[in-house]
């Protein structure tokens, strides 16, 4: 409660932005502005705190619970500040069958954090998420806004190395034909 009183409302001096966002929707659809508002907060603060949820609810005339419901539906919004690199492992069916669970175990071991945690330096956060919509190239690992597809153990190790040295490598794109037969040793394949 103390936090609520001391935190300055996010949208106080952003009338223009607010008007622009709310102006995109008709008056009866005011609640539709929930997504862009959440996104604004998240982009600025890397997470959406409970105080911000309540602020958005007040702007839109909704109950805070509803805002939280919408927000928690999307794994892109975070309630806790996430690390510099937010690793999201798809854990839905296709990825799971292609070895996402093994990838998670590997990451847990490498990073020393479990699902939903951020490491002490604020570098990495790990999260298991629902379908990322790239089932054809399972398993998928999303780092911040970038998809890394058909992640193998080798690729995972390389990726982690790059991230630890502070650079986010270009993702390898492998949509279309299955041209990775040489490297079919996906993580799941390895163990199987």
């Amino acid at each position: 409660m103390i936090e609520l009183e001391t935190v300055k409302p996010f949208f106080t001096d952003k009338d223009e932005l607010l008007d622009e966002i709310l102006g995109r929707y008709p008056e009866y659809g005011r609640r539709s502005a929930i997504m862009p508002l959440l996104w604004e907060v998240q982009r600025a603060e890397r997470h959406v705190s409970e105080a911000r949820i309540e602020e958005i609810a007040e702007i839109l005339g909704m109950h805070a619970t509803e805002v939280k419901g919408v927000m928690s539906f999307y794994s892109t919004y975070h309630e806790q500040p996430v690390g510099e690199y937010h690793l999201q492992v798809c854990s839905t069916l296709s990825c799971s069958l292609a070895g996402a669970d093994e990838m998670t175990d590997f990451l847990v071991e490498e990073l020393g954090i479990v699902n939903g945690e951020t490491d002490a330096e604020g570098r990495f956060s790990l999260q298991k998420v629902e379908c990322l919509g790239s089932c054809g190239t399972a398993p998928v690992l999303q780092v911040n806004d970038t998809y890394f597809e058909r992640v193998t153990r080798t690729r995972c190790v390389q990726l982690l190395q790059a991230l630890r040295s502070g650079e986010l490598p270009e993702p390898w794109r492998e949509r279309g034909g299955d041209n990775v037969s040489a490297e079919k040793a996906t993580l799941g394949g390895d163990d199987a």
Binding site: Y28, I53, T65, E66, K68, G69, S72, E130
Partner: protein, 816 residues
């Protein structure tokens, strides 16, 4: 429209859902997410069926025929359809029995059970669980799921009254939709998604007067009544369908008792009255019944001590004492939730003893009977303009919900062969509400104002002036004087707009309650207003049977004293049922001078401490009888098997006393009382149907004797109606933990001035009676006034409190 369900053809109104067609045809499909009076959303996918319909040729408009049979060809939907969200079409064919459908239902049961913990033996829903039943009926009995189930919080206290078991939740969304659609506060929602979804809320507790209903509608044991947790299994309870005596709505309830104790109360369906919702006061307010200090035997004062005796001995004692007392000096007073039968018994006793000093309490100064056109609940739900004066959410919460029905603009559904439609397709999630048709006026900000298009806070105690100003606006062309404008509490234009809205409406309803009833002049003004705008009226009496007791005339006859005068020296002997006037020290002094004080009550209290004879009374859950709700509907009250010792209701008291006096009085039993009532009202009250009986009473109400009572125009405490009866809250720690203590509400500025902070427990002498309460600071309270819940002895109205008597108590709650 003609519909064929399996082999049964039937004719149904357009707009009916396919699931209702199936049930109307006498077949069954399983469902979890549909619920009477709520929007169908097709979330659970259990009600799948094979559905098809004939098709018309676009060009010719003729039915496409099957070449082989020459009959219209049935085009089936490519997949199985959720029948709850499918509307029927002309010639629709619904198949619920084929192997394909059975297979799908079987699969859905298996899918639903994947993450369900199957801890049925320890679940309070076990035995009354929809999932359990459906799994037996439609499931295969086997699971192929060999993995770990989802693990979530097992015992999450959603509020003091409701526990949530997140593992058991099957995501039917009934509770989420309930809060948005019925009380209109979206306080619950799904959090997360997919298999991780759970029900949750931000903030503490559930801010609504209607939270308990979600425990009734939860199809599994996820949401449970925390007060009856683990008290018994569903098959062990005796279920008694009766009428709630907590407020004047006459809501249908089911009392579940076990081994002589009330364990819980659930809502029953009465489509005409409360639909299937009840408020938390009615649901959780029963704890006092099993209180440890319940009086279970008659007691007579011998040498200064109350000694247990038999009923015969007690009534014999009363008879002996009565002999010396002249007729007019005896008073008989009932609490206003007494049944009609008790009223008749009291009248018969009063007649026999030739005393006209008969009354019920709390009895407002103005009549609770509506004059002119009385509104029914269905009128309220279909009204196109509603004007509320008072705090309905606290006085009669059922009215609050019916007003919110009207805001949705969906009329009550027509009844189908299987009862209320399971899926009413006119209802949608997040329907736009026509807030404009509702105007709420009260002396302070009330909860319903959040839903009203226009709300007015008129000056405290200014009901008469406020309503007179409105009447003047409605009838006279003259401009209002400055004083009248001030009394209106809103700009004159808005007042005119309100009048216009009411006058132009086809079906306008004016709802008023205790604030107006506190003054006959205000009541006359509101009746005049209703006549001027041709609106129906609904009167919220203070208690369950205020209407009935007034209608049969349990009131002082001409030139006799009213209750307030009787207890202040107007009588030499008193028989009080269910009342505790001695909380007021000055009254207690007056009661000490009585020659005979008979108290008929459930517990020991300040008045029983002075009584010569104490007789054990039945609570509202143990009586058999009839009450009249605020619509004028006769509703049955049935006794639940509760261990009340030798307690009797007032008919029992009259039977024993009649035996002692050697007479057979009317109302000596429920049966004889019903006979007398038939004579009096021309209504046969034997075997009343569950939904009650709306009948015009034959006799007009007796003319009220105008007793000169000063109308309070000033004061610093406004006694307000409350959903939970303070006389029970303050004496029951369990209730207090659940609902919070009796609250003394103050404006922040006043609180600062009096050096009070929220949560402090205080004692204060209000109008002579010492009241205990917890301070609550709120901006909704007007400055210079304190709000305190009314009790039967201290009815709604403006009174004075001596601020010098204000004492802070060390908080007992904190210590506990």
């Amino acid at each position: 429209m003609k519909v064929k369900v399996n082999d049964t053809e039937l004719e149904l109104a357009p707009g009916t859902s396919a699931i209702d067609a199936v049930f109307a045809a006498g077949y069954d499909v399983p469902y979890f997410c549909s619920q009477e009076y709520m929007s169908p959303i097709g979330a659970c996918r259990m009600c799948l069926a094979k559905v098809g319909a004939p098709r018309q040729d676009r060009a010719t408009g003729e039915w496409i025929l099957d070449e082989e049979t020459g009959e219209p060809k049935i085009f089936y939907f490519p997949t199985l359809m959720a029948t709850c969200t499918t509307a029927i079409m002309e010639g629709m064919v619904i198949d619920t029995l084929s192997d394909e459908v059975r297979g799908a239902q079987n699969g859905m049961v298996e899918f639903t059970l994947i993450n369900h913990p199957l801890d049925c033996p320890v679940c309070d829903k076990g035995g009354a669980c929809e999932l359990q039943d459906r799994a037996y009926e439609y499931g295969s009995g086997l699971s192929r799921f060999r993995f770990d189930k989802r693990h979530q919080e097992k015992h999450h206290a959603l509020s003091e009254l409701i526990t949530l078991d997140r593992e058991r939740c099957i995501h039917c969304k009934r509770c989420v939709r309930y809060f948005e659609e019925v009380p209109g506060d979206e306080v619950l929602d799904f959090i997360e998604r997919g298999g991780h979804t759970y029900i949750g809320t931000l903030g503490e507790g559930l801010p609504s007067n209607f939270t308990g209903n979600i425990t009734d509608i939860c199809p599994v044991g996820a949401l449970l009544d925390a007060t009856s947790r683990f008290r018994g299994r569903n098959w062990e309870y005796d279920h008694t369908r009766t009428t709630g005596l907590d407020d004047a709505s006459g809501s249908a309830i089911i009392v579940d008792a076990r081994t002589g104790r009330i364990e819980r109360i659930k809502a029953a369906l009465n489509a005409e009255v409360n639909k299937s919702w009840i408020d938390d006061g009615t649901r959780f307010g029963h704890e006092y019944v099993d209180a440890e200090d319940r009086i279970k035997t008659p007691l007579v004062r011998k040498e200064g001590e109350l000694v247990p005796v038999t009923w015969e001995e007690a009534t014999g004692y009363v008879k002996a004492k009565l002999e010396g007392i002249a007729d007019k000096e005896l008073g008989i007073v009932l609490r206003a939730d007494a049944t009609l039968e008790e009223g008749v018994a009291a009248k018969a006793l009063a007649d026999h003893l030739q005393t006209g000093q008969l009354d019920h309490c709390p009895r407002p100064k103005a009549s609770v009977l509506p004059e002119g056109d009385a509104a029914r609940f269905t009128d309220l739900a279909t009204a196109d303009a509603i004007f509320v004066i008072g705090d309905v959410s606290e006085e009669v919460p059922a009215v609050d919900l019916r007003i919110k029905d009207a805001l949705k603009g969906v009329s009550p559904p027509a009844s189908l062969p299987h009862g209320v439609p399971i899926a009413d397709l006119r209802l949608k999630e997040r329907m736009p509400r026509k807030a404009g048709l509702l105007t709420v006026a009260a002396p302070y900000r009330v909860d319903l104002m959040r839903h009203a298009g226009r709300s007015v806070c008129y000056p405290v105690g200014g009901e008469t002036a406020f309503l007179s100003a409105l009447v003047k606006l409605a009838t006279v062309e003259d401009e209002l004087s400055e004083e009248e404008v001030a009394a209106l509490g809103m700009p004159v234009d808005e007042g005119r707009a309100l009048i216009e809205r009411l006058a132009q409406a086809q079906n306008a309803v004016i709802v008023y309650g205790s604030f107006v009833l506190a003054s006959p002049a205000a009541r006359n003004a509101v009746i005049a207003l209703a006549k001027a705008v041709k609106a129906k009226v609904m009167v919220m009496g203070p208690m369950a049977n205020s209407y009935g007791l007034e209608a049969i005339g349990v009131m002082p006859s001409h030139a006799r004293y009213s209750y307030q005068q009787m207890i202040r020296g107007g009588a030499k002997a008193l028989i009080l049922s269910g009342l505790d006037p001695a909380q007021d020290p000055s009254v207690a002094e007056a009661l000490k001078d009585l020659e005979l004080l008979v108290v008929h009550h459930h517990f020991a209290n300040a008045t029983t401490a002075l009584a010569d004879v104490v007789l054990p009374a039945k609570t509202g859950y143990e009586k058999d009888g009839t009450v009249v709700n605020l619509e004028g509907r006769y509703l049955p009250v049935r006794s639940a098997p509760v261990d009340g010792g030798q307690s009797e209701d007032f008919t029992g008291l009259v039977r024993y006393l009649g035996e002692a006096l050697g007479v057979r009085l009317d109302g000596r039993s429920t049966r004889s009382a019903k006979r007398a009532l038939n004579h009096l009202l021309a209504v046969d009250l034997r075997d009343l149907p569950d939904e009650g009986l709306l009948a015009k009473a034959k006799s007009r109400p007796l003319r009220r004797v105008s007793v000169k009572e000063q109308e309070a125009v000033s004061g610093n405490v406004l006694l307000v109606p409350s959903m939970v009866r303070p006389e029970f809250v303050s004496r029951n720690p369990q209730l207090r933990a659940a609902f919070g203590d009796v609250a003394l509400c103050l404006h922040p500025d006043d609180a600062d001035q009096m050096k009070l902070v929220g949560g402090e427990r205080v004692r204060l002498s209000v109008d002579g009676t010492l009241r205990k309460a917890t301070v609550r600071v709120s901006e909704t309270v007007p400055q210079g006034i304190m709000l305190l819940p009314a009790t039967p002895e201290q009815p709604v109205g403006l009174v004075s409190a001596d601020l010098a008597t204000l004492v802070k108590e060390s908080s007992e709650l904190e210590v506990a």
